[in-house]
């Protein structure tokens, strides 16, 4: 039953388990935390390594000798302009203040997604499961399509782009400088177990924009009585401060940290409970209410507090979420750090619901249909859009300036080696 018991598979199984537990790439020859392999925490999660046999060549670093001889920061810009002998990286990127994006998140940030075509018999075909191996080796997450670090084209034909792609469009020198350090089940209380997977050298690398987005697991649990399990504001404050101190000792000076608030998850019951779950659509016999009850009964629900018919419990969960958001606000307005400035952005689901309804959409279309819990790709890209507009409006310095050399970079280097 446990295939990892087979002697010849034991070692590779151990390596895979270690990669997933530590949130670092399984295939990383030079151990610089960047990989040429997509899944198992590879370049679907962090910028693709451009030289996996040189630990000093990786996305986000300051260029080595202006990359006159090799692409040390994997942004696809290197070599010397024959017309004037000036290194391209110096010509196109010097003074443009490149920066990377790093997400410290949970399953929502990693874009947890189970395709409905995997369980919808009426639409099932040979094509339905082609992406199953990729999904399984990414822990059922799709960070390559996420709102923060996605670099692939949206599968839901949304015109909005991820935060990373917007940073790249603003300054092509930011190419490949993204890290999605999200984990299913992550919360303020267990971030310390994988925050070390963050890759940034204070003196060698460009500044980063770090988004701290623990948006649910501090109030969500599978327990029959989830309230005692909820993180208290005091516990939350303590752990968030620990994480910020860690970031201050690792991030290059001039970085920015944005604390992302928690949503009001009561939205889920309100808009889904009486709708049919994909398993119940053929015979109209399973609603999300029944689905939620089944998961709660088995004590494997991702969030008993909000995925419940108990109005009181839903309200309690939303109240605690708001208290934790207020804790983040308090930290953002009162704490100072040497290497980064600190901001708070609310998780404004109502705002994106209104935006979506203006386009003729329905609120339930913003939630993952199979788990009935996570924000789906549409929601994640609308949230990224709202986040970008808010930051650009209130704190434009965080995003950096438009690089006037973008056209030249594209002309000389094309897609800069892609992703």
């Amino acid at each position: 039953a446990d295939i990892c018991c087979l002697p010849f598979l034991a070692k590779i199984c151990q390596e895979i388990k270690s990669a997933i537990q530590n949130s670092v790439p399984f295939k990383d020859v030079d151990s610089d935390k960047y990989s040429v392999f997509p899944t198992l925490r590879g370049y679907h999660w962090r910028g693709r390594d451009c030289n996996d046999s040189d630990e000093m060549a990786y996305p986000g670093r300051r260029p080595d000798n202006w990359d006159a001889h090799q692409d040390s920061n994997c942004n696809g810009i290197w070599g010397v302009d024959p017309k004037d002998g000036i290194p391209y990286e110096k010509k196109f990127c010097e003074g443009s203040q490149p920066r990377g994006i790093i997400l410290l998140g949970d399953s929502a940030g990693a874009h947890f997604h189970i395709p409905p075509e995997w369980i919808t018999a009426s639409q099932m075909s040979l094509k339905s499961f082609f992406n199953l191996p990729t999904a399984l080796t990414n822990e059922l997450n799709w960070p390559q399509l996420s709102g923060a670090t996605g670099f692939l084209n949206s599968t839901s034909r949304m015109k909005e782009n991820s935060i990373y792609l917007r940073l790249r469009k603003r300054n092509r020198c930011n190419h490949r400088d993204y890290q999605n350090l999200s984990k299913n089940g992550a919360s303020s209380q267990n971030l310390e177990r994988f925050i070390e997977s963050l890759s940034r050298k204070e003196l060698l690398d460009h500044p980063a924009i770090v988004i701290y987005a623990m948006i649910g697991n501090d109030v969500c649990s599978r327990k029959i009585d989830p309230v005692p399990e909820m993180t208290t504001p005091e516990q939350f404050y303590s752990k968030v401060m620990e994480s910020l101190k860690f970031l201050n000792s690792h991030l290059p000076n001039g970085s920015h940290v944005i604390l992302y608030g928690l949503p009001d998850g009561a939205f889920l019951w309100d808009h889904l409970h009486d709708r049919y779950h994909p398993l119940g659509q053929l015979n109209e016999d399973v609603t999300y209410d029944q689905f939620y009850s089944f998961l709660s009964c088995l004590q494997i629900t991702p969030c008993h507090g909000w995925m419940s018919s108990n109005q009181t419990l839903r309200t309690l969960t939303s109240e605690r979420a708001e208290q934790l958001s207020n804790t983040l606000k308090k930290i953002a307005t009162s704490k100072k750090f040497t290497n980064f400035d600190l901001f708070y952005v609310a998780f404004d689901f109502q705002e994106i619901t209104k935006k979506w309804q203006k386009r003729g959409g329905q609120p339930w279309q913003l939630i993952e249909p199979v788990d009935g819990f996570h924000p789906n790709e549409i929601a994640l890209l609308l949230l990224a859009d709202g986040f970008w507009n808010k930051v650009q409006h209130q704190w434009p310095h965080i995003l950096g300036k438009e690089n006037p050399f973008n056209p030249q970079i594209e002309q000389v280097f094309g897609d800069q080696g892609g992703h």
């Binding site: 295939i3 018999a121 099932m124 199953l132 399984l136 015979n283 089944f294 009964c297 004590q299």
Partner: protein, 122 residues
């Protein structure tokens, strides 16, 4: 529920098999073969599917042919279990006939099955 995920997995897979048979007006056996044929070879997914069908297929066919729901099948095959003192966990509306009686009937159908001799963990 130590095996909550195993139970959900069983109910989801059984639901898909039932609905494939319904949609294609086919037998449970044909539906299982169809499902396995859709799976990629990578990660042993297709071969694991055929192995599961060979191991549990005969029992599943008997139970689905007796119009048992996915909940009942998964309890009869012991992928789901009702822990004493805990509520019965089910996804679909309960059968019109008392659950206890239905489950006893289902267990009778698969009694003596070689599959159930092994502990489920293997």
């Amino acid at each position: 529920h130590a095996n909550g995920h195993v139970c959900v997995g069983c109910v989801v897979v059984l639901s898909v098999i039932e609905q494939l048979a319904q949609v294609h007006n086919a037998t449970a056996q044909a539906a299982m073969e169809r499902l396995c044929s859709y799976l990629p070879v990578k990660l042993f997914l297709k071969s694991t599917c055929y192995l599961v069908v060979r191991t549990f297929g005969p029992d599943i066919i008997k139970l689905l042919n007796a119009d048992m729901s996915a909940d009942v099948v998964c309890h009869a095959l012991e992928f789901c279990e009702q822990v004493p003192g805990q509520p019965l966990c089910h996804l679909y509306p309960l059968p019109k006939v008392a659950w206890k009686f239905t489950l006893e009937k289902a267990r009778e159908i698969v009694k003596g099955s070689p599959t159930l001799k092994y502990s489920r963990s293997s």
